[in-house]
Symmetry: C2
Subunit: 152 residues, 2 copies
């Protein structure tokens, strides 16, 4: 309580409105909603590419180019939704996310590298290479889910 | 039923697997989840800018540049989640989305223009102009919600 008052005093001293500060801090429920939204859109744009890579959908270079450009930006967005404040909410997130932060960070970087490679390869236009790079992105998703996401 | 068999025959003739075709069609529930995910991320990245524009958060040019780049891409993503197949699901979407498609399309274009203007102005770096452009984007969101989204 005392700490809150001190924070409030500092905020006032800095000329920052309390309401603005409070509004800029997301509730744990919002953080979960936001991180799930990111996953939903990543899968929206990866799914057709994955089906193409497995020859379960006709290969379409235009869709590949567009979806890869979206995936690159979605992947760039912060993982800030996995904040410790969300630990106790009921989601598929496993406690290892917070108990093994270095391993979780490495899993994010694995995806980052795979997406960067897909961006690069998709510009070359070699269908087989693109399909292989799509598979690698999908593998990076699965590898992270295996360690950090509860089985459904 | 007969039509389904004909479609299947055509698909086979074209060498497209049935399972692949089925998997490439999203269920109405998935479409709703995807369109809501897009809205969630749009607000995630607009909200801090909106608070800055109202002087409820300190203005930070770096955050503005990053979030505007995300908003530009999120806005570019298709509005395909508002498919007629989702009409009967319980969401905040109003029937006007499907009964007044031209008006709904105009509302999307209103947002598109406002975001394009924000992208342009944010490169100039004039804080007052950026704040005004942020307000215009927020207004475009609200204008569409007013006509096409049920009040909460």
């Amino acid at each position: 309580m005392k700490l809150k008052l001190v924070s409030a005093a500092i905020a006032l001293a800095l000329g920052v409105g309390i309401s603005g500060m409070a509004l800029s801090q997301e509730k744990p429920e919002s953080l979960v909603k936001q991180r799930q939204a990111k996953m939903t859109l990543q899968w929206k744009y990866l799914k057709p590419l994955y089906l193409m890579s497995r020859d379960r959908m006709p290969y379409d270079a235009k869709t590949v180019a567009q979806n890869v450009s979206y995936l690159a930006v979605l992947d760039e967005m912060a993982w800030d939704g996995f904040d410790p404040s969300t630990k106790d909410l009921k989601t598929h997130a496993l406690p290892a996310i917070w108990s093994e932060p270095a391993k979780f960070k490495a899993a994010q970087e694995h995806l980052e590298k795979a997406v960067a490679q897909l961006v690069k390869v998709s510009k070359g236009g070699n269908e087989a290479a693109v399909k292989s790079a799509i598979g690698d992105v999908n593998d990076a998703c699965n590898a992270c889910h295996k360690d950090f996401r509860e089985k459904e």
